[in-house]
Subunit: 218 residues, 2 copies
Amino acid sequence: MSRAARIPDATVERLPLYYRALVELDQLKAPTVSSESLAELAGVNAAKVRKDLSYLGTYGTRGVGYNVGNLLHQISRELGLSQDWPVVIVGIGNLGRALASYSGFSARGFRISALLDADPDKAGQSVGKLTIRPTSDLGVIAKSDDVAIGIIATPGSAAQAVAEQMVTCGIRSILNFSPAVLVVPPDVTVRRVDLALELQILSFHHGHNDHAEHGLTP
Amino acid sequence: MSRAARIPDATVERLPLYYRALVELDQLKAPTVSSESLAELAGVNAAKVRKDLSYLGTYGTRGVGYNVGNLLHQISRELGLSQDWPVVIVGIGNLGRALASYSGFSARGFRISALLDADPDKAGQSVGKLTIRPTSDLGVIAKSDDVAIGIIATPGSAAQAVAEQMVTCGIRSILNFSPAVLVVPPDVTVRRVDLALELQILSFHHGHNDHAEHGLTP
DNA sequence: CAACGCTTGTGAACACAAGCACAAGCGCGT
DNA sequence: ACGCGCTTGTGCTTGTGTTCACAAGCGTTG
């Protein structure tokens, strides 16, 4: 077993950035990459790249850089992207529909297993190659397809109930697009994406002329 | 009175959570709220709520709590939500369309000013009450409507170019839904929402049974 | 084969955020 | 008027993340 040194949260959040950059480099047949180039591609600082990667193991070569293929493999494994993950989307409104059609998911190994909606009128409609099914089918689908990840794209008022159903069905990873704050058991991971919230944060920065985010290197 | 001591980033990211909770409380005609209740509604810790709010000023009453209406007003002002912000969306694919129809924006004072797309075939199509216009119209629209916020919902390959156009047109706040890492001048604020990235982080947690955190007795 | 240029990996310093614990202060009931 | 219960505001401690700076180590070249 690899040493069980815990990987910091902040690092985990950046691994996908490196992953994406490495996929591009790999397509360009770049054999190796330095922490500095990788940093630029990922929009972060070079020291941070090195420290982050050092949590995974010692995969670089001093004087040379990191082997693109190998590093890609290691990050891929660490993120659990070696396999395809089945995903269900609950709540097929505008956003749910857009997510269902989003090619970025399948491109990265997330296969949409089913689309669910509580509205009986929607059941039977098709979106792309999938047909919308009633939310009550969640249990069957989750079991038969061993679904690991659930996406909630319902209105806030329905979100908590949906989350509870997901948890009951054994889903332990939830991506919540509703504005609701979900209460779940501690062994369930929830990530929240709130679009209005993002705009409000931008609005704050606009008012306080302290604009600064990941700009370019000073 | 708080004389503009800088508000920490972490606090700014939570203000919209409090804001939302307060809007609900206000609709329920709750006169006051304690840091503890507010914490529960926002899904954070009570001490954090108090510390966050103390950066805005001294708006609570000991022994009582915070006046809902007043606190709402203060946060609203701090976030710059007193006015409506015009927003343009560039890239009207699945996601752009969903964003255009998303009621959560207008509900919170973000008015969609225009929809733009580089594809000439899309120009003229209508989405809701708006008609898609060519990206080249950005300059005119930005000026005539004094647009402050730009949303990028294009493929990654087009994102940097769009960002540069936005910056040229005076937009200083960008919400980027593309996977690209944008390089912008330091006075421009960029926030990135990457859907595949969120799933990858969930996938990581799924692999590393990250539960069992505060289960042990010391 | 030794010296040199480059790049990693990491200890140590620093900066920021979280959370505790408690004094200060308000309002109510007696 | 006064004490009591409740809740804020905040100094301090602890934890986490970022950045610097440099020794260690690889590959190449003369």
